[in-house]
């Protein structure tokens, strides 16, 4: 499968930091960035920067979808983006993939409910195909992760309360059904509705 290499935009800001008025702290190199997956801001995960001099810097993606690195490697920098599940699921050695099923019990693994899964091909800066150009001073970059046909869905950071309790009004579910017909949960008022989360597996 051919995937389009990511489009990378690096915009250098603040080229004129030299010659600032006296009294300000000495200018340092700062890289600020945003990661988009399928054009949705990535609000969880970790960005790894690898410079041509093999210097490595790591930054966490913030809930607002940005990351910030002080003293980043400069010049052409390779980037990896990954979202590792919290806790030590991966350390258990049982399964490398979060969200996988135990077929014997047909039970979903206990992945965090709001876990944004990213394609693993973007994790390693050495083969992610993602690069940016980092200027001295302040730089801003936008890193685009493309979503392929079989990749997990992108979704924005949930802003509402997670979890639906007995007594709550059901949040709207709206969109095409598997046959492409629009289906809205709110249009079922007047009926008793059983919502079944299921799969063929």
């Amino acid at each position: 499968m051919h995937l389009k290499w990511s489009v990378l935009i690096a915009v250098s800001l603040g080229a004129g930091v030299l010659g600032c008025s006296p009294g300000l702290p000495p200018a340092i190199d700062v890289l600020q960035g945003t990661v988009l997956y399928d054009n949705v801001r990535v609000w969880q995960g970790q960005v790894t920067l690898l410079g041509k001099d093999n210097r490595v810097a790591v930054a966490s993606l913030q809930p607002d979808g940005t990351f910030r690195v002080e003293h980043p490697p400069l010049g052409l920098v390779r980037i990896g983006v990954a979202n590792y599940p919290q806790s030590n699921h991966l350390a258990s050695g049982s399964s490398a993939r979060i969200g996988s099923f135990d077929h014997r019990q047909a039970v979903c693994s206990s992945a965090p409910a709001s876990f944004l899964e990213l394609p693993s091909r973007y994790a390693d800066p050495l083969d992610s195909g993602l690069t940016v150009h980092v200027e001295p001073g302040e730089s801003q970059v936008v890193v685009h992760l493309q979503r392929g046909k079989n990749d997990p869905p992108a979704f924005p950071r949930p802003t509402h309360r997670i979890g639906v309790e007995v007594g709550d009004l059901a949040p709207e579910i709206s969109g095409p059904d598997l046959d492409g017909q629009t289906l809205r949960l709110s249009e079922q008022r007047g009926k008793v509705v059983a919502l079944l989360f299921w799969g063929h597996w």
Binding site: G99, C108, L116, I162, V166, L178, L183, A194, L196, H200
Partner: protein, 101 residues
């Protein structure tokens, strides 16, 4: 229950929608489903679904009345809701569902 005001709607968590459609035909699955893109999709995330399969029962006003996976209990709750459509009062105190009059 075909003549009753009841509907079963699915949120499918399989990774590939084409394969779901194919297997729905093979297995004669007759309920409508949204496709959630995988096990950590947006709907399952919003509803905080941690285990599958998972059933949420809504009353006629769209209020969540039960998270229930026991088929017999589910059947009982559905019949109860159909027999006594939830009043606005019941909506405010959902626990009344479990009280026998």
């Amino acid at each position: 229950m075909a003549d009753q005001p009841f509907v079963l709607l699915g949120i499918n968590t399989d990774p590939d929608p084409d394969s779901v459609r194919q297997r729905n035909r093979q297995r004669e699955i007759n309920w409508r489903s949204w496709w959630d893109g995988g096990v950590n999709g947006p709907v399952a995330t919003t509803w905080k679904v941690l285990g599958l399969p998972y059933v949420v029962l809504l009353d006629q006003q769209g209020v969540v009345r039960s998270h229930q996976t026991n088929p017999m209990e589910l059947r009982r709750l559905i019949r109860q809701l159909l027999a006594a459509p939830a009043s606005s009062e019941a909506t405010k105190s959902p626990n009344s569902l479990d009280k026998k009059e």
